[in-house]
Symmetry: C2
Subunit: 336 residues, 2 copies
């Protein structure tokens, strides 16, 4: 299988290469594409050394699979051309996620939606982390409403976001000067920014609406009431989510815990007596989404549940889910 | 007015002295009490230099007003004795907050509850910040349910918490070593800890239940359904809160904004087009609670509202509210 990673020098791109290697993806030839600035650089990969190429559709047209970790505009400009050339494309951007003809897939939830598609969208990171827990709860208890507040890491803004958080935190602590910002709308060091992506006419941000729109599409529940408050906090690469649901059928914490223990992609970490609950510290670098703080929420009588999730934004929130999608592609069931 | 600050060397104690000075509280003599370890230390205050005394009930019995910034156990041991000696006590601990005979007061909300009380409880920091926004919304629209997820700063664990966050963040960035922890249950640097205070049998933490119990008492709504998820994050001294409410009467973002603009103790910061919303960066050192991200929450039809609050944990969440209580005491309406 000739696999290309487009946007290979970014935070998600680098993680894609690692995940392909770690999961022993059947790569016969790995090619890495980036901007002209990085072209020519030789990088070590689990598949041997690879020299980064400047991307062009023409250079990438003989790939079997292209994993896109690029901007929405870039994906819009190039994904259709690659697909037309016979390349299967898994796109990490938001460009195609809401198009009816494009499956938006979290394999634990809706792998069947893949069909024979040659262009597949990888969801928003917060959404991917959320639905692996919501889908089994919906199957067991039915979802009536979902309310989410997020604690999102710097990695959601790419490698530049992580670099800025580290550099500016150092500026505060070591140089004793105020933090600065270029990547984020405000300095993030020791701060909280309730603003991710652009504001929409309804006063929600686009990030918040992505969680609504994409969760509905992935779960096949086009009318599910969801409200999200998306908040950037000074952590590196794990998104946390405080989730409240109202269910259609009665729910208990114990029953919910049993459902989540049996769910693929979820690791229940819920032993308060031993100070065990989801945290970025423990979820970093982990494939599974940690779920804990599972408790009956009396606000909705015996139909309410609170839980807390932590998922690695670069793994389940991006690179891992993209590779999991690729692993399920019908084209890849035939040996290259 | 002879005023004593008990626990004067802690984060809240130091802030109490500043707030008394800044608000020109009618202090004729300021006395500062702490443990024997700090006794004898001379500190500069807005009321002149003061030598810290080791606390004893006997030494403190001729105060008119004692502001307690000490543990619940310490308050339980000493507040009744001070009151018996004729001292009016405002206690920042949780020791007396839920006792029927003790008013629990946020002056903007329930100053009338003060009556002739000689012992007054200052609420939990998260609660104080929450109710200044909830109370006017309740008056205007009626509250049916409240769901809160918090983003709580290190200062909630006192000066030691702030020191630990700073020292351990430096250890990660400068020494490249893993963060350690003594004050917090886990390392807080670049982490999120969904665990504040002890776990209760219902799987909520005591911090989360304080928000429920105290909000109900302050607002005089003993049955109000409230669920809180209390989360420690790596910020210094401002608590943020993501709040979702369902109202009894229809609500719009515009109407809610007008109500909050007219509310005492609240500053509406809600201009997304100019990137203005509540943040620790802007709420630090401010008396008012910032309220923003105000929007209709479709999860509850036309009866839902989301908002985001930021309040200085050491000010409205502690020292400021305590001094505001003291300013309203009937005893203090008579010149000393």
């Amino acid at each position: 299988m000739r696999v290309g990673v487009i946007g290979a020098t970014g935070a998600v791109g680098r993680e894609l290469v690692e995940v392909l290697g770690r999961r022993r993806f059947p790569v016969t030839k790995l090619r890495l594409f980036a901007s002209g600035r990085s072209a020519g650089t030789r990088v070590e990969t689990p598949f041997g050394p690879v020299v980064i190429e400047e991307f062009s559709q023409d250079r990438a047209r003989d790939l079997d699979l292209a994993l896109l970790a690029v901007s929405g505009d870039f994906a819009k400009a190039h994904a259709p051309g690659l697909v037309a050339a016979g390349v299967t494309v898994v796109d990490n951007s938001s460009a195609f996620r809401l198009e009816d003809a494009v499956p938006l897939v979290v394999p634990e939830v809706n792998a069947a939606a893949l069909g024979e598609a040659k262009l597949i969208a990888n969801p928003n990171c917060t959404t991917a982390i959320l639905v692996v827990a919501l889908a089994p709860l919906h199957a067991a208890f039915g979802l009536k409403r979902v309310i989410v507040s997020t604690y999102q890491a710097a990695s959601g803004a790419g490698a530049e976001g992580m670099t800025e958080l580290e550099r500016e935190t150092r500026r505060v602590l070591v140089e004793g000067e105020p933090a600065r910002n270029e990547v984020f709308a405000h300095p993030l060091a020791f701060n909280v920014i309730p603003h991710i992506d652009t504001f929409q006419p309804n006063a929600y941000t686009r990030e918040e609406m992505k969680v609504t729109w994409e969760t509905r599409k992935i779960m096949g529940l086009p009318d599910l009431p969801i409200s999200c408050t998306a908040v950037r906090i000074p952590t590196m690469r794990v998104h946390a989510e405080s989730v409240t649901i109202e269910t259609l059928r009665p729910v208990t914490a114990e029953a919910a815990r049993a459902v989540l223990r049996a769910a693929a992609g979820v690791r229940v970490v819920d032993e308060p007596a031993r100070n065990l609950y989801p945290m970025p510290l423990t979820a970093t670098g982990q494939d599974d989404v940690e779920a804990g703080r599972i408790r009956a929420n009396p606000v909705f009588g015996d139909h309410g549940l609170d839980l807390f999730l932590c998922g690695d934004q670069l793994l389940k929130g991006a690179a891992l889910n993209a590779v999991q999608i690729a692993e399920r592609l019908p084209a890849l069931q035939v040996p290259a």
